[in-house]
Amino acid sequence: MILQMIKKQALLLLRNPMELLLLLGLPILLIAILGTALGNIMDGGEIDLQFKLAVIENEAESEQVAQFIAKLESGNLPEEVIEELSSTAATVQPVATLTDVLQSEELEELIILEKVSPNELTEVTEDDSYAAIIEFPEGFTYELLSQLFLDEGRPPEMTVYHNEGAEIAGNIVEQIVTAYQEEYTVGSFLGRNGIDPEQLKLLSTDFKQEVSSINQHNPVNSKAYYTIGMVVMNALFMAPTIASIAFREKQDNIFDRMILADISRWVYFISVLLTGMLFAFIQSLVVFTFAYIVFDVTWPDLAAFFIITFFFALAVGGLTTLLTAISYRIHSERIISFFSGVIVTIFAFLGGSFFPIGENSAFIQRLGDLTPNGAAMSAYLSIIRGEAIMDNTDHLIFICCFALAAIIIGVLTFPKRGAAA
């Protein structure tokens, strides 16, 4: 009998294209819109940035290295020392090294590097298409080598100009240059103290250090987030949809016909529960499958996924019976309209379907987890990040309790005789 009733509900729903569109089409549309529109914010905000950087070298680096070696040879240092320092100095080319870094594979999409002759400095400075300019003064490499190997003079200074209005690019260049300077400072310190930097690198491999983000799990991209958000929100609409069909059965005396056919009201009640539950389950699977095919939203643990979907569908079934029972009791569809128009929106907002509201406040997160959709969403997000289903028992217990509470209140509210009683 219950099967017949579910079959009949399925037929009624399938023949109502508008409701089907709202239940299945709307979440898909919203996933596409929200996932795309809020993708940058959700996914860490990848910025499409590429800028031009000019490098001006006022004196050729090779000449300065040769000049330094000549200085070494003309000095009073022992022959072996001169030979060793000369061979090392020949490999130290700070300008070439920095230029290589700026043109490396990692930075090639970010920086367009152009080497500019010193007499073009004024022209380049006035050209707004350059985000930044690095100028190496005359004798930069010579002074640096003298400082590094002979501890003579002061460290040379390079100049970084950046264009007003291109602060991000300027900051990036400054950070790269600073990192480069620190590297050289460390190298200089190690060199002066007779430590081979290469040896230090080898030693450091003995100390393994794992670097990870604060949240050590898989990141959730915007499409996955909104797939979950829209599924849990739109599944809630299944409850008023089925409850509305049930209320029409009361209004049209169809429920009375069933009672007169000696169908127990509890058989009817259970059929409403199972219909809400089953249809919410199917609806969720359809949208998730669509998201899998189109947006590549995948689940690391399918069993966990099905368990959460089942529990959430149970909660929707409970809500369906509750709405049906109240509407039967008060002889009005107002509670159903109120639920679909107001309560679902509040639940969806608190549950984080529109944006991760809970990230800003632990209280809101807790409040969100006290909605069936919010709890389900937290559980889904947790497993999509790679956590285990056992880490979500609190959410599942809450969803289960919510469903049971809704069913019990529904049982107590449901009329005990004909619909008119």
């Binding site: 009998m1 017949q4 009949k8 037929l11 009624l12 023949r15 109502n16 209004q251 049209d252 005396n253 169809i254 009375d256 016909r257 069933m258 009672i259 007169l260 056919a261 000696d262 169908i263 005789r417 004909g418 619909a419 008119a420 009683a421």
Partner: protein
């Protein structure tokens, strides 16, 4: 067979049914006549076990059905006033669904659906959705659904409301045929007195929650046995004629229409000479004066002072 014993029903402070006594014997068609809001539907709901009475008892085969309605529900078919069907299902799907809830299945269900669809003249529309049906077709299907489990008692709550004369005729003929061919017991409620007159052996008249008359058609009409209903026709009336007629103490229940005035007078009064004299005095040219047969409408008007369809 089935009886209401001193049944009352209150919804909060409103008494929908007051101390109602009624019985239905096997094989008869009983009419429940009354205006809208008289309490007919509530009485039917109590009788069919859908609503529990505030006081009194309902008995089927001498046994109370208030606490244990199963026996009655097996043999009763209800045709509600509203169209209790799924508009988005076809006629056949509706029949099969309701047949299943009456525990019919398999070939027996298919045969019964086919049989009833033929009885109500909808075989050729079996695959069409109910929402595409006319009002009359929906009413016929509404009746058909109540007949699927071969009920002994068919309770019909205003089954002809809002349909065309052809469909109404079809329904009335179907009810008559079911009663004659299958000895089906029928409780028929309506505020169309001509339907009740056509179908019913016995009649209960309800008003404001109470039964105000009951008996066979003749017994009820005999309530007006000492009076005649007079119909006077003319092309036009003037105020003087109407005022003087109203002022006449022997005339009561006067109803004035554009070209016809009806009223009730005692059989002992010779009204014809008085009418002729009044017409001459007020310059009204009478076309006809008839003594009408007493109708249930007249009886209702006599008992309540209101017309059935007011």
């Amino acid at each position: 067979m089935l009886e209401l014993i001193d049944v009352s029903k209150k919804f909060k402070q409103n008494a929908a049914v007051k101390s109602m006594n009624m019985f239905i014997e096997k094989g008869e068609i009983v009419g429940l006549l009354g205006p809208n809001g008289a309490g007919k539907s509530t009485a039917i709901s109590i009788l069919s076990s859908l609503v529990e009475p505030t006081s009194g008892d309902v008995k089927y085969q001498q046994k109370s059905i208030i606490k244990n309605p199963v026996a009655l529900r097996k043999i009763i078919g209800i045709v509600p006033q509203e169209i209790a069907l799924y508009e988005d299902l076809t006629a056949e799907e509706n029949m099969k669904f309701f047949g299943r809830i009456y525990r019919l299945k398999g070939e027996k269900l298919n045969m019964k659906v086919q049989e009833v669809l033929e009885q109500i003249g909808l075989s050729d529309r079996r695959k069409d959705m109910v929402k595409t049906f006319s009002g009359g077709m929906k009413r016929r299907l509404n009746i058909g659904v109540a007949m699927l489990h071969d009920p002994e008692i068919l309770v019909m709550d205003e089954p002809t409301v809002g349909i065309d004369p052809q469909s109404r005729h079809y329904i009335l003929q179907t009810v008559k045929r079911l009663n004659q061919e299958r000895q089906m017991t029928v409780l028929y409620t309506s505020h169309y007195m001509e339907e009740v007159e056509f179908l019913c052996d016995r009649i209960y008249i309800m008003d404001k929650g109470s039964l105000i008359a009951s008996g066979t058609k003749d017994e009820i009409k005999r309530i007006l046995a000492s009076e005649n209903t007079i119909s006077v026709k003319a092309d036009y009336w003037n105020d003087a004629f109407i005022e003087k007629l109203k002022a006449n103490p022997v005339i009561h229940q006067m109803n004035v229409e554009e070209k016809e005035i009806t009223f009730v007078v005692s059989r002992e009064v010779n009204i014809f000479t008085k009418l002729a004299k009044l017409a001459e005095e007020t310059n009204v040219s009478l076309n006809a004066v008839d003594v009408k047969n007493v109708t249930l409408e007249d009886v209702f008007l006599h008992l309540t002072g209101r017309a059935l369809r007011d």
